[in-house]
C-alpha cells in the first residue's frame, strides 16, 4: 500500500479533492513514522480545499507566529 493509499484509508485525503502531482510525490517520499504522525494528528492534506481562499504567497507574507 502506498503512502497516499494509507492516508486515503485513514480519511485524510478526500477522493473528490485529489492531491496534486507534487503533493503525491511529497507524500510518497515520507517515512512510515511521518505518515503515522499525519494520521495521529488527523492532518487534512492538500491545498485544494483549505487554501481556496489563501492566494499563492499569502502564507509567507502573513508569517506564522514568530517565537
Amino acid at each position: 500500500m502506498t503512502n497516499v493509499e494509507r492516508l486515503q484509508q485513514a480519511g485524510l485525503v478526500q477522493t473528490h479533492i485529489p492531491l496534486t502531482d507534487d503533493e503525491i510525490k511529497s507524500v510518497n517520499a515520507l517515512s512510515s513514522a511521518e505518515i503515522d504522525a499525519l494520521i495521529s494528528v488527523r492532518a487534512k492534506l492538500g491545498d485544494a480545499f483549505f487554501q481556496r481562499k489563501v492566494k499563492d504567497g499569502d502564507s509567507h507574507r502573513m508569517g506564522t507566529v514568530m517565537v
Binding site: S26, G46, F50, G63, M66, V67
Partner: protein, 247 residues
Amino acid sequence: MMTHSRRVRETVSLVRGRLDSLIRDVWFHPRLSELYPEFLFAIYGVTASSSPAMRVAAERCAGVPAGDPIAAWLSTYYLEHAEEESGHEQWLLDDLASFGIPRNLALQRLPYASVAALVGVQYYWMFHVHPIAFLGYIAVLEEPASMEFLETVSRRTGIPLASMSAHVMHAKLDPDHVAEFDATLDALPLTQQHQELISVSAIATVAHLEHVFSDILEHFDRISNPAGAATIFTAPRIALASASREL
C-alpha cells in the same frame, strides 16, 4: 537532491492548508482592530515560553547518548538562539498596553490550553526522545510576517504600527530568518531518525497551532458577545487611541 530543509518544508506545506486558512481568518477578520489584542495575547503565551524552552533543549543535549553527531552543536545553537529571543515577549506586553490592557492584567490571564499543548509536546520530545525535535517547532513558528504586509494591515484597519511592534520588530530583524534556518539545517549531519523527529515535530506543531488560531477566533467571538464567557479583555472596550509609541 532532497535537502533536509526541503524535506521539512515540503512536509509542512502538505499539512498547513488549514493553518494558513485560520491565520488568514485572523489577519483579515472584519473586526481585526478589536481582535488584535486577543491575537497578541495568544502569541504572548507562545513567545514567553520560547527562550526558556530553548535553554531546556540545550540542557537536554547533555543527556543524549555519547557519539551523537550533533548534540554539542545543537546545544550551542539553542543557547545562542535563546539569547536572541530573550525578552521578545515584552514587545507583546507593550503592544497590549497600547490597547489599554495593563501588563499585570495580561500576565494574570491564563494562557490558552492550546498554547500549553503546543509547547508541552516539545518538552516531551526533549526529555524522552531527543532535543533536536525543537528544530521542527522552530521551522514552523519562526516565520515573521513581511513588513509590506504589516503596513497594509495597518492602513486597512487603522491599527498603528506602533501597536504592532512585536510583529514589526520580527519583520525587521528576521526578514531572512527562514533562509538562514534552512541553510543551518542543511549543513547538519542528520541521521534518518533526526530527520524524522524534526519532521514529526513540525507536523505536530502545525496541528497544535491550528488549535491556537481557532482559539483566538473563538475567544474573540465570546468576548464580543455580551452573553458569552467573560475574559480580561471583555471591558472596557479596546481603545486604539491609547497607542502612542513610535517605532
